[in-house]
Each structure stands twice: as structure tokens, then as C-alpha cells.
Symmetry: C2
Subunit: 341 residues, 2 copies
């Protein structure tokens, strides 16, 4: 347990990033620690311990005006998925000292309203476990691949961002389902990890060579399932290689987030039509009712050694903006977490 801070440190959204995220898009600030004596029924004060750096947070930094996802207000602390400790509670069943996951924001302390959902960390798991191996991204991989992709043994599955937090789990679940799995990642090191520790059948380094051509060589009968975390040119390369009745799982489009404007889509719609290809977006929240089942299944697979996970935990409250920005440079290896210290 770290020392109790004397002030509430914050990172505020100073301006909306127009292309790459830079540290200058955020502004450091200090406020007073929320007053626990004034809690209304149901309210909580949480101390943030770990923040997930998720690519889609870049979308939340876009201007308001769409009804589908939140837009962080200029001057507000940056919203993020977090693991926290309850430090003051006026909510039944959520005692002080309990560790929970919740959507909070880049600050030491967060006062949350009575209707703000928090999820207790299951017994026997660390806050790191629940933010990585069993976290949001792992569940996203689970639901995306199984519910949207509907893998069958013998299918050829290609995963982009395969060395990332979501991609690496999707790829390994694909192996469990009996698919032939090819990962796309940046750099020889990540590719070696995929074919080595993760047991993938092949890996494509998008930084060296033509991805479309590589996929054509590796998938002579076409791609049955493409799990896409990247979008842009990588999505296009996959579209050109989809098999008849192929499924494209739209999970994320990180390559396009920093281009400015609405995430650009692929061309060659006729391949989707003549190939009877399905392209489907989804959110893990669509399958909220099945969260427990997903957790149990993931835990079993991890216990059996069928899924390995890698976390890239970077300490330092003062470095949160730099930590987050690393996501878009492909600098992280596995789940990127900013630890509050």
C-alpha cells in the first residue's frame, strides 16, 4: 500500500489531439482530496491504483456530437478503465478496503455517484490479474472471437495487433478452438513471441514486407476469420484475402485513430459482396450477461497453460501521458498499464 497522497493529482485533457497523441495534449493539475464526510448514500471514494491504456480512449478524446461513445470534456480528467481501492463508502456491500474495477479517470482519487458501477476483484486475484489476464481486453477477445467470429476447427484465423493485449488472447483462443492462427505484429521480437510462447502457426511483421502479399502466401485458401484491432491498410490487406463466407471481427482500428476525422474504412466493397463476407463491429459490453462465464472459462484456460499473457506496467503518475502515447507507437508489449505511484 502506497502512502496517502496529500493532494489529488490529476491529468486533464488540455486539447483534443488532432493526429498523434502527445504529452502536450494533457495538463497536470492538483485539487484537494474528496471529502469523505460529505458522502451521500451510495457514493464512494476510490483510490486509483492501475489505469488501463486502451486505444479506444483516443476516440473518447474526439469532439462531442455522436451518441455512441463518450467525449471527454476539455479540462476534465481523462476517463479510463481502472483498478481501485475503496477508501470511503456509503454503498452497501462495497466496504472500505475492497478492491474494485471501474471506469474512473486520471487522478489519485475519484468520487463516484450512487449509480456508478464498480466490480469487486474476485478472491485470489491481484489487481494486475484483473486488469490483464482477466480484464476488459481479455473478455473483448473472448466475446469477439467466439460470438462474432464463430470459429470452427480448421478455420484460418488472422489476428492484427496480435502481440497486443486483446489480439494475443484472441489468437490463443483461436488455437484452443482448433484454428490455424496467423498473427500480424510490428517487429521481429513480437513475431517471435507469437510463434514461440503463444504457439501461433505463423506471424507477419507488418514493418517488413507487403502484408497483403504475405497473407496471400500464408493463406492460399483465404482467411476465414480476421480479428481486426488495427484497421486502415492492414484491414485492406485482409479484405483482399478473405475466403468465401469469411468473417471480419471489427474490434479496434488503432491505425486510423491518429489520422484525424472519422476512422477511414476499407475499399473494394465488391470483395465483400462477391465473397459473401461479413464485417461486424461489437463491444464486450454487448455480452455483459455472460461476463462470469467468460471469466470462468478464461481462468480455466490460463490454469491449463493454454493462454499466456504479458503485461507492460509503467509506474509513475507523472508519466501517464507518455505511457498512454506509447500505445500508438507500438512501443508496448502486451497489456499496457499505468501504475499510480
Amino acid at each position: 500500500m502506497e502512502k496517502m497522497a496529500e493532494v489529488n493529482r490529476q491529468w486533464l485533457l488540455r486539447r483534443r489531439p488532432t493526429s498523434n497523441v502527445t504529452a502536450d495534449d494533457f495538463e497536470y493539475s492538483e485539487t484537494s482530496i474528496p471529502d469523505s464526510s460529505s458522502l451521500r448514500p451510495g457514493e464512494l471514494i476510490l483510490r486509483n491504483l492501475l489505469f488501463l491504456c486502451a486505444p479506444t480512449m483516443r476516440n473518447w478524446m474526439e469532439p462531442p456530437g455522436n451518441s455512441l461513445y463518450p467525449s471527454i470534456a476539455i479540462g476534465d480528467p481523462v476517463m479510463a478503465p481502472a483498478a481501485c481501492e475503496v477508501v470511503a463508502s456509503a454503498r452497501e456491500g462495497v466496504p472500505v478496503g475492497m478492491r474494485v474495477t471501474a471506469f474512473t479517470s486520471w487522478q489519485d482519487y475519484q468520487r463516484v455517484a450512487a449509480d456508478h458501477p464498480v466490480t469487486p476483484v474476485p478472491d485470489g486475484l491481484s489487481v494486475t490479474d484483473i486488469m490483464t489476464t482477466y480484464g476488459l481486453n481479455a473478455r473483448t477477445a473472448y466475446f469477439g472471437l467466439l460470438k462474432v467470429g464463430k470459429p470452427r476447427a480448421g478455420d484460418t484465423l488472422v489476428v492484427s495487433g496480435a502481440a497486443g493485449s486483446t489480439g494475443s488472447v484472441a489468437a490463443q483462443i483461436g488455437k484452443i478452438m482448433g484454428c490455424r492462427v496467423i498473427g500480424i505484429a510490428g517487429g521481429a521480437r513480437k513475431c517471435a513471441w507469437l510463434t514461440g510462447e503463444c504457439g501461433l502457426d505463423a506471424a507477419v511483421d507488418y514493418r517488413s514486407g507487403d502484408v497483403q502479399e504475405k497473407l496471400r502466401e500464408l493463406c492460399p485458401d483465404g482467411i476465414d476469420i480476421f480479428y481486426d484491432n488495427v484497421g486502415g491498410d492492414i484491414l485492406q490487406a485482409a479484405i483482399e484475402n478473405m475466403a468465401k463466407f469469411g468473417r471480419i471481427i471489427l474490434c479496434g482500428q488503432i491505425a486510423t485513430y491518429t489520422e484525424g476525422g472519422p476512422a477511414r474504412g476499407p475499399n473494394n466493397m465488391m470483395r465483400l459482396i462477391y465473397g459473401s463476407v461479413t464485417m461486424q463491429g461489437f463491444l464486450q459490453a454487448d455480452y455483459e450477461d455472460e461476463t462470469d462465464a467468460a471469466f470462468r472459462q478464461l481462468r480455466q484456460w490460463v490454469d491449463q497453460g493454454l493462454i499466456v499473457h504479458r503485461a507492460d506496467i509503467r509506474p509513475g503518475f507523472e508519466r501517464i501521458p507518455q505511457t498512454f502515447a506509447a500505445l500508438f507507437e507500438g512501443g508496448n508489449e502486451g497489456t499496457l498499464l499505468a501504475a499510480v505511484e
Copy 2:
């Protein structure tokens, strides 16, 4: 029955259209009539009566190099869906005088190989009926809407190219299924036909006003199903208005066929992800096993007066290129057929 031609007239693909289709892309030619005395077992000689002018034929005029759809060779007669009369036969069960539908090409007479599929015109139907009300486009509408769109009563269905051959049937099946149906078409005349004779709930004239804005007004709770025959800006306008869990049926992309290069796709992939939207291509051939069931159901609906159909039959072999080009100018009203005379 028209007079027996003395030569076999043909329209050949002279060059690959780069943008709009023009009459100059085709070349008139004459050859001798195929010799019926030399037929090998299973071969047929067909006389073409009616050619369907289908937008996707524009794709078949693209250069070869993809495995998904045919590429008409330069100098070959232009491949087209047709209604024909058998004039010579060495195939059991396909006697001279039988009327059939088949993929043939722009010429008077077609010698077809033993393995070339032909489908007899059902008793009691004219060749016009089988090319329009019960034709390829009607079946495409049927399978696309029912199998891919999976309409439920109360869904809001938007159809682009709604006054066209496929769109008008998809829209009317939507009404039968209990959907609220909005058609997009070009011009007040087509829109009046949709809300009048076809019984649609509303129509949007894409030539007057902002389609995206109009759809927002007409679909305050979003579009549950978008049946897309058009693509391009119209697809984009629909994407911006899709409801959560919406389905986009990719049937055709006529707006993009004449732009050159691979049919451009939409932007704003994040709407697909956060909206859990599915975009799915298909071909009517995917449901070949259910062709008879589709035919019976369409016939019942037509007999009950639930589906009206409009055919735009343009006579004149010499005008086939101009007739086909009219498709891309939105000049046709309903199913566009070139009649061989």
C-alpha cells in the same frame, strides 16, 4: 416469334470502361449462326430473347485478376443473364422450343456447353415474368432481406436504389414483414411511385437535399436494416444513422462502379464498432438450394397483390449498349431489359 436472323449479331467488349459506361466501349460484329449439325452430346444452341441489364455486369468488365467474379475478355460478346429459346438441342430434357433462363451473352445465338446450366421457364409464366417479377433480382431481394437482414416486425428498414429492380422488391417484402420502410431513389417521380403504388412509409429523393440529414429526421431511433444497392455517399449517410445492432445488407454498389478502381468503402468504422453494426455481402447464388421456395413465396405474394413490379423493356439489338448505359444514369424505372428484335 421473330424472323430467323441470317447472321449472328454480337456486341463485343471493345475496351474496359474506365469510368462511365459508354456505347464506344462496345463494338458491333456479325458472325455466322452456330451450326446445329455439329452439336456434341449435352450441347445446346439458344436464341437470346431478353437480356437483363444488371449493374454488377459493370464489374465483369474490369480487368481479370480476382478469383471472385468473371472478367469478360476484350473482344468477347458481353456476358449477361438472359431469357432464351432452345433452337437446337443435344441435351436430354431440354427440347427445341423450350424457353429457359441462362447466362449467355450479347448476341443472337449462343452455343452452350454440356455443363452450362439452363433453367426452364415455369409453366404459365412469360419470359418477361421470369426476368422481372420472379427473376434474379427478385430472388436477390428475397434472400438478401430475409437471410442477411433478418427483419423483425417494427424494424426500420431503409432501401437504397429503392425504385430499382431489386430495391423495390426488397422494400415491399420489408412491408410484408411488418417493417417501417423508407426508400431512397432519384427524382420525385420514383419517390411518388414508392410511397404510392409500393406502399412505402416514406421516400427520400437523393437528388434534392442531404440524405444523411433526411434519414436522421425520418429515423429518429436509427436504421435497423439498411438494404444497400448503391454504396458510396448513400452508404455513408446510412452508416451515420444506424441503430445499435443494425444490419447493413451489401447487395450492390452501383454508385462506385463507374468511379474506376476497387469500389470505395465507407468511413467511420467506429460507428460500426460502437454500434455493433453488421455489414454483410451476399449473392443470391449462396441460397441456390432455396430457389424453388423463394419462387413459390414470391408468386404467392404477387398473386395477393403484395408486390408490384415495374419493367422497363427497351427493344432493339442495335441499342443494347445504350440501354445498358442508362442503368448508371438512373434512367430506368424498374427492371431494365434489352429485348432482342
